[in-house]
Amino acid sequence: MRKKLTLFILLGWILLLIGDRVDELRVYQGAQIAMYAIALSSIVLLTGYSGQVSLGNGAMMAVGGYAAALTLNNLGGPVWFAFVMAVFVSALFGAFLGAAAARLSGPYLAGTTLALAVGLPEIANQFDFLGGVPGLLFDVGFPPERLGEEFTQYKWFFWIATFLALLSLFITSNILQSRYGRTWRAIRSNSLAAELSGVHVGRMKILAFTISSAIAGLAGAVLAMTISLVAPGAYTLALSFALVTGAVLAGVSSLPGVVFGALILVAIPEVADVLATRWGGDENLNNYLPGLIVSVLLILSVIFTPNGPGEKLKSRHHKKG
């Protein structure tokens, strides 16, 4: 365990060095990658480990984002407290949701969470204190002065997001490697047998939902930070879908994979944009080529490396005996 901690600290340090050496756009994208990595790990835990398919992690992110913004705007206090509240409130929300979800399986769960992903952000329109369509501001403030003049807002976002990502990945990976992770995999594989082995299947599923939601909530707050606001338009169905996509690209049950998945989520649109501009000309082409490229990549990767690129490498080493 000590080894892992050292590894994470080293990783953090390397990331900070990188952050100093690239331009602002990349720094911002770095913050986005960190945000997606957190969000994807919530899916890895929920779907890859406990086997519950959720299309609604975007909604869980919304809960975290709003919790953070409401905390910061109404209770004040330090910024970290807003993030803690995001985790706490969305964990609570996840526990409630999980209690209902534990009774559902496969597509039923997918359908319910899909409905949630569509419906939940709209609640913001119903209550004034949630700010309606324009949303609420979420301002983590400028970087501390002592970091110097040159230290930009985006680098500050990057620092915060990276720190939170490393922290949450560290914790998540510990949980997944503990008996909790093992029990979830057992439930995914054969829930009846797990139950007969004394596993409280319902409780464990709810726990998975709770933790996953807490992580997603954190990601939601980080997202809110990078766009400086929470608004229904930030937590759309498209976000939920993007997350599932990223999770598959990451290889649903591989935690290190989330970084790769996050990288791709941020990179694909940009690459597609570049290609579209290169071949561009026609207006429809400009508008729809990026989508086309993303979809084709997605389809190809799902067909050829459904369990993530990691699997292909692994299976080269030890073939199923």
Binding site: E24, Q32, G132, V133, L137, L229, A238, E283, N286
Partner: protein, 401 residues
């Protein structure tokens, strides 16, 4: 030293707007219209010898994408200024996250009427162009009081910035609606419209104000016509474009007699020198695109942009552009009838509307036969009838300020 986005031969500008997605109809024409105008100017020597390049980025109306795309515009493409960014939530978050003000990026002619952007302290480098939704509502309120006192009033409004701005202004003006129907952006469809209509009809509304987007106007009017419910319609400026309505399958006949506040002349009014010139440019540089309110709006933003760039001098800087807007902006030629409010202390653009009546072809004529222009502010100021006379269109549509 040279300013970001300005070289000896080129000035780079950027815009984010929904080119695809549910919110895109109509708006997706604005960027191309601006571009057409810029090409026209470029073919006629550009601005002080520099060609204008406009980079359009599709944000699908999502704030996240707006930020990501604006980041690309500002940090990667290194544009000189933003022109005509679209959407209230989008621009709110872009402004904060990208740090538009902090970076000193000029952001001209926002395509949103949210009155909050009129706060010069928060938005020192941003400039509005549209009259705010609050202004629009205040003007409608006065008009209702003068022309429809005693009638039963209904309103259908989009439950967002229109609501905050518009409804608030109606309330302040003392307008009471007998039936009020709110809808959430994205829910509009024939099915939902049926419920709006039955609520309005059940409440016996005789005059119905509509404050929403065109994709909601369409089912509302279509369903009402089908149900033979025909109140006096007063359609907000945002959702009343007849061409878009027709594309959405609304028989234009139902528009006959509907009222709408308008800032610009009708896009069919070829007797107007602006419209005539813009139409010519559109035919040549934007071939195949029907000339409607959105195209007119895009061209006009182009026209004003060129004036602003010229006003910034032969070696334009961002600071220079902003002070040019503050000092000379209010004198710019613009197709809209109302005065422009730019000054050292205000970034508000147009400040008023006239009421127009639509006919069975979707064309609009000033209510009462001639333009009666009302002007006001977004706050508690009165609504007054203005005698302002807009500047003439520069010769051939090429600014020479």
């Amino acid at each position: 030293h040279a300013e970001t986005g300005v070289s000896s031969s080129e000035i780079k500008l950027g815009i984010t707007l929904p080119l695809t997605g549910a919110a895109s109809p109509g708006y997706n024409k604005i960027g191309n219209a601006m571009n057409a105008y810029f090409k026209y100017v470029n073919d006629n020597g550009g601005v002080n010898g520099r060609k204008i390049t406009l980079i359009q980025k599709n944000d699908e109306y999502s704030p996240q994408l707006s930020i990501a795309k604006t980041n690309e515009l500002v940090l990667k493409d290194k544009v000189f200024a933003l022109v005509g960014p679209l959407g209230t939530a989008n621009y709110t978050s872009v402004h904060k996250s990208v740090g538009i003000a902090k970076r000193g990026v000029p952001s001209l002619f926002l395509n949103t009427g949210f009155s909050g952007f009129g706060n010069k302290k928060t938005y020192p480098t941003s400039f509005m162009i549209l009259p705010s939704y609050a202004m629009e509502a205040k003007i409608m309120a006065k008009f209702l009081k003068e022309n429809y006192a005693g009638k039963k009033l209904g309103i259908v409004y989009q439950n967002d910035e229109f609501g905050i701005d518009g409804l608030g202004a109606f309330k302040a003006a003392g307008t009471k609606f007998d039936v009020s129907v709110a809808y959430t952006s994205g829910t509009q469809s024939a099915a939902t419209a049926q419920t709006w209509v039955s609520q309005l009809a059940a409440g016996g509304a005789q005059v119905v104000v509509f404050f929403g987007v065109t994709s909601a106007t369409a089912p509302l009017l279509a369903v009402a016509a089908a149900a033979k419910y025909a109140p006096q319609w007063i359609l907000g400026s945002v959702g009343a474009d007849p061409l878009t309505l027709r594309a959405l399958g609304v028989p234009l006949a139902v528009l006959n007699g509907a009222l709408t506040p308008a800032g610009n002349p009708s896009p069919n009014d070829t007797s107007d020198e602006y419209v005539k010139q813009f139409q010519e440019i559109n035919t040549k540089y934007n071939t195949g695109t029907a000339f409607d309110d959105y195209v007119l709006q895009g061209m006009n933003i182009g026209l004003m942009t060129v004036q602003a760039l010229r006003a910034a001098g032969s070696n334009p800087t961002r600071k220079g552009l902003i002070s040019a807007m503050e000092n000379k902006g209010s004198t710019f030629a613009s197709v809209a009838y109302s005065p422009l409010g730019y000054s050292k202390t205000s970034n508000v653009g147009h400040t008023g509307y006239y009421m127009a009546v639509m006919d069975a072809n979707g064309d609009r004529k000033p209510f009462g036969g001639k333009v009666t222009l009302y002007t006001t502010d977004s706050g508690s100021g009165p609504v007054v009838v203005s005698t302002f006379k807009r500047p003439a269109m520069p010769a051939k549509g090429l600014p020479n300020n």
